[in-house]
């Protein structure tokens, strides 16, 4: 009696297994391409084949049909122009001995022109404008110059005379109220601030050094104008320190003490009567003198040893600001041999005489301050150019 259950159960189990795993052993159906087929009639096929052959027919159509009535032909299409226009002589530059035939026969004409002795002038094809993005920056390469100076100078105009200072060109002007003497303009020689070697001329993608603006000369305080009591050249750094724009609060007391000390010491050291008179030299006036001299101080021809030698040169000045050549003397030197010091002194002497030939720009009312000048020529900065 249970046999029926068993048969039923086995059948169900078999059915379930067939459903679950029946497809495992079957191969998947192979893919196939489906092509759509349309059925056309014989007339349609003939029409279609005529369409394929259209190019040949079209050529014939383009030609004027001789048997077509003139009134049925389209006005535009009836103008047969199957051949290109004859080339213009200017374009082909055909020689005169090879005249263009009157009868339009373009193809032979073109061939003739191509084999002519003279090459035809062919208009250049329009160039494509290609814009490449720069791979390097447009940083200007340092321009080499024969002259190296503290301040760079742009090259003067070609016709401009080279002079130490910029002078305006004066040309005759009949309409001018004041007649000025005709002079040529002058400008300083082109200069760069450092020696540019060939190895430096390679363009770089990034700047390697930055040009830092110079610090503005400090407006001197009255206290700073006091000449140091110590006449030695080493007093210069102290002097510079006094010309700081503003003292820090915690340094103020020291500055005041220094000022008091210097004022008192200076008073003690000054001559009781007949000393220098007039207001003290300002920092700007000193700078003007310094700049004037350094423009003529040429160290380019000095030896390496002379470039390591600092010399102190004394000079007496005339009242019109000119150095007295015979008074120039070397007070001392430091850092080199006597021979090197002599070369350095000669270079300094040339600078003072040359740039002082027309008189330095010095305040007349302070002549007592600059009647005697001691200049320390220190080429340390010039060695590293």
């Amino acid at each position: 009696m249970r046999i029926g259950y068993y048969i039923s159960g086995a059948g169900h189990i078999g059915l379930i297994l067939l459903v679950l795993f029946g497809g495992m052993f079957n191969t998947p159906p192979q893919s196939f391409e489906v092509t759509e087929v349309s059925v056309i009639s014989g007339a349609e096929f003939d029409a279609m084949m005529q369409g394929v052959q259209t190019p040949d027919v079209t050529t014939d159509v383009a030609m004027p049909a001789p048997d077509l009535p003139a009134e049925q032909a389209p006005p535009v299409e009836s103008q047969p122009d199957p051949t290109p226009p004859p080339p213009a002589p200017q374009v082909t530059e055909a020689p005169e001995t090879d005249p263009v035939p009157q009868q339009p026969d373009p193809l032979p004409q073109q061939t003739e022109a191509e084999v002519s002795d003279e090459a035809p002038v062919i208009a250049p094809p329009p160039q494509e404008e290609v814009v490449l993005s720069p791979t390097i920056s447009d940083r200007p390469v340092p321009r080499p110059s024969e002259r190296v100076a503290p301040e760079p100078v742009a090259p003067p105009e070609p016709d401009t005379q080279v002079s130490d200072a910029v002078t305006e060109e004066v040309v005759p002007d009949e309409a001018a109220e004041v007649v000025r003497e005709e002079t040529e303009g002058g400008a300083p020689e082109e200069a760069t601030t450092r020696i540019v070697t060939e190895a430096m001329e390679e363009p770089s993608a990034a700047p390697t050094t930055s040009v830092r603006p110079r610090t503005r000369p400090a407006r001197p305080e009255p206290v700073a104008e006091t000449p140091p009591a110590d006449p030695a050249p080493e007093a210069a750094p102290e002097q510079q320190a006094q010309e700081q724009p503003e003292a820090q609060p915690d340094q103020t007391a020291d500055a005041v003490n220094d000022a008091l000390r210097q004022a008192l010491e200076g008073g003690a050291a000054s001559p009781a009567a007949g000393g220098q008179s007039g207001p003290p030299m300002t920092s700007g006036e000193r700078d003007a003198l310094r700049v004037a001299v350094q423009q003529c101080w040429n160290v380019g021809s000095l030896s390496s040893e002379a470039l390591r030698t600092t010399v102190v040169v004394a000079v007496s000045m005339t009242e019109d600001g000119k150095p007295q050549s015979e008074s120039l003397r070397m007070l001392g030197f430091e850092g080199g041999t006597e021979a090197a010091a002599r070369q350095a002194f000669e270079s300094a002497r040339r600078a003072i005489i040359r740039c002082g030939a027309n008189g330095f720009s010095l305040p007349r009312d302070k002549y007592d301050q600059w009647r005697e000048i001691e200049m320390t020529f220190n080429p340390e900065n010039m060695r590293i150019r």
């Binding site: 020696i195 540019v196 430096m200 000393g275 003290p280 021809s301 002379a306 020529f377």
Partner: protein, 441 residues
């Protein structure tokens, strides 16, 4: 508040005592910036003291001017700008006329030719702005054939008096003269004046010759020749052009020789058993001493001027770098640490710098550095620069520059140690491997 009071008090004191503020003594300023530019000079044609000297007087003055302007340190003022002329060697100089044209130095000279063909040249140098003579007048005597040497000597004296360092115009250069295409190049030794004049050939072009080097007094030349099939070092007497090979074992390759300052010792490279090391040899006895002993390639030795040290190139660190060791060998000290490869070091006659060739980023450079490797400066850059040699005064470097391509050729260039005044030396045909002589006597 107290500070302000004190400041005010100080200011009052200063203004109340103007005489005290103006201490006695001169105005003092310090000049720390100057300019670097050629010094303008005037050099009128020398005065011909007899008719036979007329042409020579003009030629000598021109060579003197070319020597000076060729340094880049001087600029000649053209004769068309002269206000006054020098018509007599002993007539007083009108300094104001020369100042007016900004001539800072003035050369005045005279030439006379004797009946026996001897030449006498005298000159004076003036500091125009100081209005006085720089040094005493000098006179040189020689032959007509040697007039260029006399001119160089005058220029050397002028250069020395203005710059304070020795000149280098009366010197010669030995080099390898090249002819033919790159794949069929013929080389021979040649010698010329420093400015390219008076070229003479010392060898024929049957064998390849390389790297000639002067002895300290300029009477002999060391060079390498492939005459035997292998590179071998020869020493040549310049006057007689006689030569002999330095003793080496059969099959060994010796090259890159250079004299020691004593003139009796040669330092060179020797390749034996596939290894290249540096040796020194007593040139008289032929006794050789090995100075380095590593599996690396070590070559291009050069003595310091005092003979105590040797700089050379080696790839013992994996790349080609510069090293310094004692004259008798010992542990070397590396001095080059920059990017790229360094080679052909040469010690300056002054002893303060070492010139070298550097290859970096596809370019070749001639550069200088301190003897401790510091302050490296590259002076040139091109497709191929190599083989620096120093002028006798240590101020100028000459080297070989080769241009790119199948038609490229080698030529000689010189540059100031500041990197200025890069220029080509005139030679007949191609030229390479220059070596500067000491000043002639």
């Amino acid at each position: 508040m107290m500070t302000r009071v004190l400041t005010l008090l100080a200011a009052l004191l200063v203004f109340a005592m103007p005489a005290a503020a103006q201490t006695g003594g001169p105005l003092r300023i310090e000049i720390t910036e100057g300019v670097i530019e050629p010094l303008p000079f005037a050099n009128p044609d020398f005065v011909a003291e007899n008719a036979a000297a007329a042409e020579l007087a003009r030629q000598i003055a021109r060579v003197v001017s070319e020597d000076l302007t060729g340094t880049g340190l001087f600029r000649e003022i053209p004769a068309s700008a002269f206000i006054s002329q020098i018509t007599s060697f002993n007539s007083p100089v009108q300094f104001s006329d020369w100042r007016a044209i900004n001539a800072q130095a003035l050369i005045s000279g005279a030439v006379s030719v004797g009946g026996d063909g001897s030449v006498s040249v005298k000159f004076r140098l003036y500091d125009v702005f100081a209005g006085q003579e720089l040094g005493d007048g000098l006179q040189f005597n020689g032959t007509q054939a040697g007039w260029r040497r006399i001119a160089h000597k005058v220029a050397d004296a002028v250069y020395s008096r203005i710059t304070g360092e020795g000149g280098y115009f009366d010197s010669r250069v030995v080099y390898v003269a090249e002819a033919g295409t790159k794949d069929d190049r013929r080389k021979r030794l040649a010698i010329m004046d420093y400015d390219g004049a008076n070229v003479q050939y010392l060898t024929d072009s049957n064998a390849i010759v390389l790297a000639p080097r002067f002895s300290p007094n300029g009477d002999r030349i060391l060079y390498t020749s492939y005459e035997s099939g292998f590179p071998r070092i020869y020493v040549m007497d310049v006057a007689s052009v006689g030569r002999r090979a330095l003793p080496t074992l059969e099959g060994d390759m010796s090259f890159a020789p250079r004299f020691a300052p004593d003139g009796n010792t040669v330092v060179y490279s020797l390749t034996t058993g596939g290894n290249t090391d540096i040796y020194r040899m007593d040139i008289t006895s032929g006794a050789a001493t090995r100075l380095t002993s590593t599996p690396a390639i070590e070559t291009a030795p050069s003595f310091s001027p005092d003979g105590s040290r040797i700089v050379f190139e080696s790839d013992r660190s994996g790349s080609q770098q510069l090293y310094i060791m004692g004259a008798n060998g010992g542990e070397p000290q590396r001095i080059s640490f920059g990017q790229g490869r360094y080679g052909t070091p040469v010690w300056s006659p002054r002893g303060d710098l070492i010139a070298f060739t550097k290859q970096s980023k596809g370019r070749f450079h001639i550069g200088v550095m301190r003897t401790d490797g510091s302050e490296e400066r590259l002076l040139t850059a091109s497709f191929l620069d190599e083989g620096p040699t120093w002028s006798p005064n240590g101020r100028v470097i000459m080297f070989t520059r080769e241009t790119q391509g199948a038609t490229g050729s080698a030529s000689l260039y010189s540059v100031d140690i500041s990197g200025r005044n890069l220029k080509q030396i005139r030679t007949e045909g191609g030229a390479s491997d220059p070596a500067w002589s000491p000043l002639q006597r």
